[in-house]
Amino acid sequence: MAAEISLAAEPIMTLGTWGVPNSVVTTWIVVIIIVFGALLLRKKRLQAVPKGMQNVVEAVCEFLDTNIQNIAGSKKNARLFFPLVGSLFIFIILLNWFGLLPGVGSIGFYEIHEGREVFVPLLRAGTSDLNTTLALAIVAVIATHIFGMKHLGPGKHLGKFFINPFKRGPIMMGVGFLELFGEVSKIISFSFRLFGNIFAGEVLLIVMTGLVSFLAPVPFYFLEIFVGFIQALVFATLTLILLTMATAEHEEHEKV
């Protein structure tokens, strides 16, 4: 067997008291790739008649734009949500796919841990660390609240969660608390969905490679490429739906 599978990301170096896990290193690499790509795009200047890579960038942006507009309804809202949702999609899909590259998760060293020799890979797919997915989920949920407060005003937005029991009754107050708890469960479901899918994919690939080293894992790699895309899409779409719901008028909410 090639590797011991650990749920948590393994620290591979220390920065002060913080043991930097391999997933963060992978994330840094992806961030650097994205920054370089963006700077390259800026340096080359966008042409009115697209050529080469600009076509790909435009196609991705157009794909995101049409999908976001379909869900957000109005173009104004779509453009408002585009940066966050698009960034989430691109960041997650690159993190997912980066984990599929050969060497990620398989190149590493052995370390004595709690009296046992364990394999520690140098790189680990960013999204197969719960820290990453939790961070993204927290950002997404907080962003929905920021947009909601901006759109409806802080009082009206917070009024969805904190309801005066003397005015609207104790039941509505309970509903408000449920909604508040729902926000926490949103974070948990967001983070665990993404983490679970990508981690499971990694485990699946390791197991398949362990069973039959040649050819057999290839279809599973294709599957994981697809899963990486789907999970990024799901995360971005759900964020978008939350954003759309948060900026919707309260009245609409109540009628349902």
Partner: protein, 171 residues
């Protein structure tokens, strides 16, 4: 808490990943999404505009086409009327010229006939006089008894007139 340890959740890692994502968000928004979306919007606007333009041009072309055919029809009609009027005018002119020529010819013929008539009359008168003179002279010579000159002349004239009248009747 055991769960947190099991999943390796660490506040610092969490914050690091949040910062990573915020960097990505900023960079993508600033250098990719904003310019690309603007480009796409501009392009779609441009395409819309050019399509509208093309439609306008087509409409104008159609308008021009109808105008052209209308003008052609008008020109055709006008030329037809011009042709007709000129033809009519020409006909009139011809008629006029022909009539004029006819009357002129008639006049000339009349004049000629009159002239002929007068000339003939003159000739006839002259020849009558001559004949009378000749006849009278010859009768005077033939007849021994001199007849009265005037009487003879009258008689002869009467005879000749009768002869001429006879002749005229014959003619």
């Amino acid at each position: 808490m055991e769960l947190i340890e099991k999943f390796g959740i660490d506040a610092r890692t969490l914050i690091a990943q949040v910062i990573n994502f915020l960097i990505v968000l900023f960079v993508l928004y600033k250098f990719a999404f904003k310019p690309v979306l603007k480009l796409l919007d501009d392009r779609s606007k441009k395409i819309k505009k050019s399509l509208q333009h093309a439609q306008e041009i087509e409409e104008k072309m159609q308008e021009l086409d109808t105008l052209k055919s209308q003008m052609l029809q008008e020109v055709h009609r006008k030329s037809q009327t011009i042709l007709k009027t000129t033809q009519e005018k020409a006909d009139q002119e011809r008629q006029f010229i022909v009539n004029k020529a006819k009357t002129e010819v008639k006049d000339i013929i009349e004049k000629a006939q009159q002239e002929i008539h007068t000339v003939r009359k003159k000739l006839l008168d002259e020849s009558k006089k001559d004949i009378v003179a000749i006849v009278v002279a010859s009768l005077e010579k033939i007849l021994p008894k001199k007849i009265d000159h005037t009487l003879g002349k009258e008689m002869t004239t009467l005879t000749i007139d009768a002869a001429i009248n006879e002749r005229k009747k014959q003619l």
